[in-house]
Amino acid sequence: MSLSTDELAALVARDIPADSYVNLGIGQPTRVADHLTPEQGVILHTENGMLNMGPAATGDDVDPDLTNAGKVPVTELPGASYFHHADSFLMMRGGHLDVCVLGAFQVSVHGDLANWHTGAADAIPAVGGAMDLAIGAKQVFVMMTLFDKQGRPKLVPACTYPLTGLRCVSRVYTDLAVFDVGPGGAVVRESFGITREQLRQVT
């Protein structure tokens, strides 16, 4: 059986080492936060200038001055800190984050990442912090479906979409399998409702 987004988020959460500093990208990766346990002691970074971000804010806790990178109102946990954008990106680009989890259009078996631009000629380019996260964290996890809506694999020999970063992804979590990627190519770590033979045909 393939995994639901929630099951996939739980799988990623399980693999994040205790006491890590982690950035969760906009979209699906934010769901990972719901599956982190207090015992893990994971500290969430948001690139708009905060460490130890808490869950989404509701009701009276909504404060327009306190949002995550997706501009969703969030909360602060004890031990939080605020800092400006240059310091926040120093953390990201200087290799201080242990893990970041990003979505992707495509990942190559060697760890190239394409997640900011579809390549469509009429698209308005918008990169945000994607390229900084891709090259900065000690480990970059990608979380995505293995196939796109047209049934084409998103884990590919070489990305055809515009790149976000070169050789930067270390692991790819998909609904059908988890892969280590890198210089030696993709290696299946676990699979869900798909045979190794079928996976081999994909990658």
Binding site: G49, P64, H84, S88, M131, L163
Partner: protein
């Protein structure tokens, strides 16, 4: 004296063709009153440096809509409610330079710090590396990035004293402290002006040396849906 009584006095004298750094990440820290003042003031042909390119019809979007902006330098123009920018861009009426968010911050910091240029690992091997000088240092590839200096910075802070010392509030801090260092004239709207001596010197985030004009403005929050 740095304190101005009105927003109009605070934004007086901004020249046509200026490069204007505009604080805020989405709506948090966006200096709405100063932007509205800038629209009234009338400067045109502006280059705007900001993380986004406007939401809905307010703030930066209103400035764009008024036809005052020639070029936007930002990291993330495309948002669910960035229709003003989208229309100008698709009809060729505005230039866009997309800059990775970390480079946007670091290039402004470089301008503030007197750094002539720096080698940065972000965007190596991507379309945004096109035309940039590259260099390999200790086995890693870097792109050469140049400072972004503003003629003017418009930012929003929480409190100021009359010496221009600033503190911010939560993630509304974002680009404010960096932009304050990078502009010839830094103009700040604050929720409150407090007496000199009431800000703890240990907690001042932007020292007054970076601040030229301060005006008090009511904190107003535009909760635009789907802003990114």
């Amino acid at each position: 004296m740095k304190i101005r009584d009105t927003v109009d006095e605070a934004v007086a004298g901004i020249a046509d063709g200026s490069t204007v750094l505009v604080g805020g990440f989405g709506l948090a820290g966006m200096p709405f009153d100063l932007i509205e003042g800038l629209i009234r003031q009338g400067a045109t042909g502006l280059t705007i440096v900001s993380n986004n390119a406007g939401n809905g019809d307010v703030g930066l979007a209103a400035l764009l809509k008024a036809g005052r902006v020639q070029k936007v330098i930002c990291s993330f123009p495309r948002q669910s409610d960035s229709y003003v920018f989208d229309d100008l861009y698709r009809t060729g009426r505005i230039e866009l330079e997309v800059v990775p968010q970390g480079n946007l911050a670091e290039r402004m910091r470089a301008a503030g710090a007197g750094i002539g240029a720096f080698y940065c690992p972000t965007a190596v091997g991507t379309p945004l590396a096109e035309g940039k000088e590259t260099r390999t240092i200790d086995g890693r590839d870097y792109l050469l990035e140049y400072p972004i200096k503003g003629d003017v910075a418009l930012i929003s802070a929480h409190r100021a004293d009359r010496m221009g010392n600033l503190v911010y509030r939560k993630t509304a801090r974002n680009f404010g402290p960096v932009m304050a260092t990078a502009a010839t004239t830094t103009i700040v709207q604050v929720s409150e002006v407090v007496p000199v001596g009431s800000l703890d010197p240990e907690t001042v985030v932007t020292p007054g040396i970076f601040v030229d004009r301060v005006v008090r403005a009511e904190a107003r929050h535009y909760m635009v849906q789907g802003a990114r």
